[in-house]
């Protein structure tokens, strides 16, 4: 599904922040991406999400060479990927319902066709009572759940999450993790970037460890 071969990344003329990354993400897989702050986790997620291009190496995404995509193709591939940002990136002038429905709205689907689906998912992440709330009045945990719901609503083949449990209490964190693990059953591959060791200990999954721009796989 995703394959990195000797991928390197540098910003401008600075030093390489990612060096010789070689790994793959298989369909229906679940893995953690971890490492100290500043190790390059977010940069790696951005490469996976096509918002950065590598300075060297090969990235293959859904059997396409990700380094040679036209603008139109990037949008099509992004619809197959869901992403949860560390800072949520919810739109403040849209309600929780509208934020979560955004990927479907953007894809041109009729609202009547997905309304129930969005409401159901919001109820499931515990935001059933907050459908009309605007993000500025949501708590950190509620924003987090809304961001996760938005990433899941279009049933992506690959889900990338940057510290998805960083703002929630341990009980909810466990619940969200269970939800993310279960996604595998629907055919979604999941990559969770976190440095929450307690969270990783709850589920036995391969850990991609980034350290000083280099990657190793631990179990």
């Amino acid at each position: 599904m995703v394959r990195f071969e000797n991928v390197g990344l540098r910003y401008g003329t600075g030093p390489e922040v990612l060096k010789d990354l070689t790994f793959s993400i298989e369909p229906r897989s679940f893995q953690f991406l971890t490492g100290p702050s500043g190790a390059g986790k977010t940069s790696l997620l951005r490469l996976l999400f096509l918002s950065l291009r590598p300075t060297r190496g090969l990235i293959s995404l859904f059997d396409r060479d990700a380094t040679r995509l036209a603008r139109g193709e990037i949008a099509a591939l992004r619809r197959r990927i869901g992403i949860v940002f560390q800072d949520f990136r919810l739109l403040d002038h849209l309600t929780t319902y509208e934020n979560v429905a955004l990927p479907l709205r953007v894809s041109g689907r009729d609202e009547a066709g997905y309304r129930a689906e969005v409401v159901e998912l919001l109820q499931w992440v515990g935001l059933g009572e907050r459908l009309h709330a605007l993000p500025p009045v949501l708590s950190g945990g509620e924003k987090q759940r809304a961001a996760i719901a938005r990433a899941l609503i279009s049933r992506p083949e690959l889900l990338l999450a940057d510290e998805p449990t960083g703002n929630v209490d341990p009980t909810l964190a466990r619940r969200l993790l269970r939800l993310l693990v279960e996604l595998r059953k629907t055919g979604t591959s999941v990559l969770i970037a976190t440095h929450d060791v307690a969270l990783m200990d709850q589920y036995d999954a391969p850990r991609l460890v980034l350290d000083d721009g280099r990657l190793r796989v631990a179990h």
Binding site: E98, L102, V106, S107, A116, L121
Partner: protein
């Protein structure tokens, strides 16, 4: 995860109280500051364009009316000449004119009438001693104008002291002035349009930059450039339509007021404006032109923003 999904598919949408949940907010908030200032710019530009178009149309129509009036009438002038009877010559000139096809009427001004015409300039002086020329007013059939050269030749054959003034020189100068005013108006219009396009481009760039977060999020959730450009273009078309409507209505209202006030101008002592400009009012065609200008401004706003958004989007990602 699969369970809630299955449940969602199984339940009909109405179970969730459809009227309660719906998209109520546009993806792009429409009350941004840049949107308001752009609205003002488009409204002002449309107003200026409307004024220019209205003024050009008024001059154009007035010039056409003057030319028409002038060409409906020519004058035969009879200079006093030793040994010639001016009264007889005047009558003869009127007869010659009437014999030419296309002349509707010819009226000889009597000595008294001629002197009355001169009275405002010369006062009640005794004009008997002055060699005052005499006039024959020749009314021309508007549908079939006469052959002026033939009239001129016919007059020259029998009356050596007759001259024909068909006002062509004056009409040509008038046409030149009217054309110059029209050209100047078109140049002003072109400048107004160019300024509008530039302002809209700047405003669009500003709006895209101000809404960069929205653009990024839309990209992340898989929106194509065309989709993003479309919501911006729709936003700016609405701004353009509003601005065009306000500016166009303002210009039309001003000309409407002038039209209503025209009789007042006409009744002023001297009737300066009315005499010089004819009916000092914009005709229906002028109002239609203003409406067309307002529509064009809306379109220009939408088009320039669309082009700018596409350019800016390529730069953002």
């Amino acid at each position: 995860m699969s369970e809630p999904r299955r449940a969602a598919e199984a339940k009909p949408a109405r179970d969730y109280g459809e009227p309660m949940v719906a998209h109520v907010h546009p993806i792009l908030p429409d009350d941004t500051v840049s949107g308001r200032s752009l609205l003002a710019v488009v409204a002002i530009m449309t107003f200026l364009a409307g004024l220019t178009i209205g003024a050009v149309e008024m001059v154009h129509a007035a010039a056409g009316a003057w030319r028409g009036d002038m060409l409906r009438e020519v004058t035969v002038q009879l200079r006093p000449m030793p040994g010639r009877d001016l009264d007889a010559d005047t009558r003869k000139a009127a007869e010659i004119a009437k014999s030419i096809a296309g002349v509707a009427d010819a009226r000889a001004f009597s000595k008294e009438e001629t002197e009355r015409l001169l009275q405002p300039w010369l006062g009640n002086a005794d004009l008997g001693a002055l060699p005052v020329p005499r006039l024959v007013q020749v009314k021309v059939d508007a549908q079939a104008a006469p052959d002026f050269d033939r009239l001129r030749r016919a007059l020259a054959e029998s009356l050596p002291n007759a001259g024909l003034d068909d006002h062509h020189g004056f009409a040509a100068r008038l046409a030149a002035i009217a054309d110059a005013v029209t050209l100047a108006g078109l140049a002003v219009l072109a400048l107004v349009l160019a300024a509008t396009m530039l302002s809209v481009s700047f405003a669009t760039r500003g709006a895209v930059a101000a809404n960069r977060t929205i653009v990024e999020v839309l990209h992340f959730v898989g929106a194509r450039d065309a989709f993003v450009a479309r919501i911006f273009a729709r936003h700016f078309l609405a701004v353009g339509l509003k601005g065009g409507l306000i500016g166009g209505a303002g210009a039309a209202a001003l000309f409407g007021l002038i039209r209503l006030a025209a009789p007042l101008f006409g009744s002023l002592p001297g009737e300066g404006a009315a005499v010089f400009l004819g009916r000092f009012a914009l005709n229906m065609r002028g109002f239609l032109w203003i409406a067309a200008a307002a529509a064009a401004m809306s379109l220009i706003t939408a088009l320039s923003s669309r082009i700018t958004v596409h350019r800016t989007l390529r730069a953002i990602d």
